[in-house]
Structures are given as structure tokens and as C-alpha cells.
């Protein structure tokens, strides 16, 4: 989920203990990295200074500077935590954040629309782009390789796909 230039990196799943600690669920590739994006904000723009204390089942226990009691922590259950897109470190060539790829328009080498990127998957082989076909709810998976996706233009928000026979 992306709101403006913000990305969801985790969520508060409730209070942990009785001393005002919270349970944090991290959506990051490396779950501990959620702390590096602190201070995080919620959907209304409130800021949370997050410090991870220890790993627990299904996430981390953490202390938020603005939260002192269990009641305050309970009240935050379900709050999604956002980081700014600009906080993510720069990547080398041919590496892309999923959040940048999702939503890109896909065209073939002739310029005909093929759909838009709905999701990025990895099932153990190459990364795969899931394209939502135009005017339909059907999706198709495309290998994210230089041969099949020769151009990724993040500025123009589009990718060029050269599909092999039998793919689409």
C-alpha cells in the first residue's frame, strides 16, 4: 500500500505487557530494519519514535517514546506505520523496490498496452511481475529478466516487455 510518497513498513498489533510496550509487526524484507526508519508516522501524520526491545512471537516488542501506559498502547492496536520513500537506501542498477514497480504501466515493444504491475513475486526462481491485463481482472506473470523486461523507466512510470512466445 502506498500513500503519496509514504510506504507501509509495519503495524502495531497491540500492547505487550503492562508497562506501555507495544507489539510491532514488521513488513520489511529484514524485519529488524523497521527501527532504522524511525520516526514512523501513522495515516493521520502522528509521529512515533520506535525502539525495538526484543523479538517476540510474530514480531517485536518495542517502546514508543510517546506511549507510557498499557492503555495508550492498547489504543494503538491496528495502526499502520509509514516511512517516507526517500528514507529507503539507493539501490544498484537492475535492483528495484517493489513499491516503485507496483503500478507501472506495461507496454510491449510496439507500444501496445499490456496492463499494469499489480505485484512482484518470488517463488524461488526469478522475480516475477504480476500484470493486471487492461479491462479485465485476469493477471499474467512475467519473468523480471533483462530479456523479457528490457526497459524499466521509473520516471515515465512504465516498463517495456518483450514477451516470449506462449507467455501472454
Amino acid at each position: 500500500m502506498m500513500q503519496d510518497d509514504r510506504i507501509v513498513v509495519g503495524a502495531i498489533s497491540g500492547a505487550y505487557g503492562v508497562r506501555g510496550e507495544v507489539r510491532i509487526k514488521s513488513f520489511c524484507a529484514n524485519p529488524e530494519d523497521i527501527e532504522t526508519y524511525s520516526p514512523l508516522t501513522d495515516s493521520e501524520g502522528r509521529s512515533y519514535d520506535l525502539a525495538i526491545l526484543r523479538p517476540i512471537k510474530n514480531g517485536f516488542s518495542a517502546r514508543i517514546a510517546q506511549i507510557a501506559t498499557k492503555e495508550d498502547a492498547d489504543a494503538l492496536k491496528g495502526v499502520e506505520l509509514f516511512a517516507l520513500r526517500t528514507q529507503l537506501p539507493a539501490l544498484p542498477d537492475d535492483e528495484f523496490y517493489h513499491t516503485d514497480l507496483i503500478g507501472l504501466e506495461a507496454v510491449d515493444t510496439g507500444g501496445e498496452a499490456l496492463g499494469s504491475v499489480k505485484a512482484v513475486h518470488n517463488h524461488g526462481a526469478d522475480d516475477l511481475l504480476e500484470l493486471l491485463r487492461p479491462g479485465s481482472s485476469a493477471t499474467v506473470l512475467v519473468p523480471f529478466t533483462r530479456a523479457v523486461v528490457p526497459t524499466v523507466d521509473l520516471e515515465a512510470r512504465r516498463i517495456v516487455i518483450d514477451p516470449p512466445e506462449g507467455l501472454l
Binding site: 500500500m1 502506498m2 510506504i7 507501509v8 513498513v9 509495519g10 514488521s26 513488513f27 520489511c28 524484507a29 530494519d33 516511512a83 529507503l88 539501490l91 537492475d94 535492483e95 528495484f96 523496490y97 517493489h98 513499491t99 514497480l101 507496483i102 505485484a119 512482484v120 513475486h121 518470488n122 517463488h123 524461488g124 526462481a125 526469478d126 522475480d127 516475477l128 499474467v140 506473470l141 512475467v142 519473468p143 523480471f144 529478466t145 533483462r146 530479456a147 523486461v149 524499466v152 516470449p164 512466445e165 506462449g166 507467455l167
Partner: protein
């Protein structure tokens, strides 16, 4: 109990035929297969198979480290859409 070595790896014969035909044609088409149980053999390296997951064919580009696995391992039957967060994709 594991499979007896004297039998060799199991591969559905139509997969072998399709792979052979693709190799001879020299084209890099997606080879659609339904046999999730077939073992990935060394002669499949470099080919792209569309492995059926019960709904659609998932493209799987075969590399050396997949040899000995089954095709079905790379074509999950359930889809999970998590949050993108800071996850990365590498274009190979």
C-alpha cells in the same frame, strides 16, 4: 523412503519431448507443462517452463541449482500478497 537410484530421476515423457523440441528450435519460448511431479534435469537448464499451478502457468527459468528439484516446487498453488515495504526485486 527415497527413490531407488537404479530407476533414475522421474520425468514425464512429454516434458522430455517438449524440452528437446524447444532446444532444437533454438527459440526461447515458454514451454507449458502440467507435470509438477517431474524432476528438473541438467538438459533443462536455460529453458523457461510454464509450470501449471492449477490455475495458470507460472514461468520458471531453469538454472543449475534447481537440478534435482521438482517443477512444482517453483509454482506455488496459493498466492500471498504481502506489503511491499522495502522489499527488492533484482532484474537478472
Amino acid at each position: 523412503m527415497s527413490r531407488s537410484v537404479w530407476k533414475g530421476p522421474f520425468v514425464d515423457s512429454y516434458v522430455l519431448k517438449k524440452a528437446e523440441a524447444a532446444r532444437e528450435s533454438g527459440r526461447n519460448d515458454v514451454i507449458k507443462i502440467w507435470s509438477r511431479r517431474s524432476t528438473i534435469l541438467p538438459q533443462f537448464v536455460g529453458l523457461t517452463f510454464g509450470v501449471y499451478n492449477g490455475q495458470k502457468h507460472i514461468p520458471v527459468n531453469i538454472t543449475e541449482d534447481m537440478i534435482g528439484q521438482k517443477f512444482g516446487e517453483y509454482s506455488p498453488t496459493r498466492t500471498y500478497y504481502g506489503h511491499a515495504a522495502d522489499k527488492k526485486a533484482k532484474r537478472k
